[in-house]
């Protein structure tokens, strides 16, 4: 049972890491055009905002789908 819990935790960790890989992939394309000697302040802010807005978008879509479904729009 502790093993099951341990494995469940490791699974969750793997899913988080997979999401981080996929977000880094797409936010890199959105925020980094030229490779500089360090990550510029604006690039760093863009990366963090890119993650937050992507998740906001996800929440927005799911909520809107639910409201459309509720109003019989779908």
């Amino acid at each position: 049972r502790e093993l099951a819990q341990f494995l469940e935790g490791e699974n969750a960790k793997a899913r988080v890491q997979q999401t981080v890989h996929s977000l880094t992939d797409s936010c890199w394309d959105k925020c980094i055009s030229k490779v500089n000697n360090k990550l510029e302040r604006g690039e760093e802010a863009c990366l963090a905002n890119c993650v937050e807005r992507f998740l906001d978008t996800s929440v927005f879509i799911v909520k809107r789908l639910e409201s459309l479904r509720g109003s019989g729009g779908m």
């Binding site: 797409s26 807005r53 992507f54 978008t57 799911v62």
Partner: protein, 76 residues
């Protein structure tokens, strides 16, 4: 239960695609919050994507049906 899982997987995949396509189109420069203009764009984009999904689905299923009907008639 299998049927429910299939519908769920389908909805999940649709949400993922909308998220990817519409985020790219509507939020080119992510800022400190989702602006109202970005939200309006997301709503429109989402509606258009679902319509596109329906058009593609009809065209694809229609083609499959025509081709299976043709198997018993003329050539393809």
């Amino acid at each position: 239960k299998v049927r429910g899982e299939l519908a769920l997987a389908n909805a999940q995949e649709l949400i993922n695609k909308i998220n990817e396509k519409c985020y790219d189109k509507c939020v080119p420069k992510p800022g400190a919050r989702l602006e109202s203009g970005e939200q309006a764009c997301l709503s429109k984009c989402m509606d258009r994507y679902m319509e596109a999904w329906n058009v593609v689905s009809r065209a694809y299923v229609g083609r499959i049906q025509r081709e299976s009907a043709n198997q018993y008639g003329g050539g393809m």
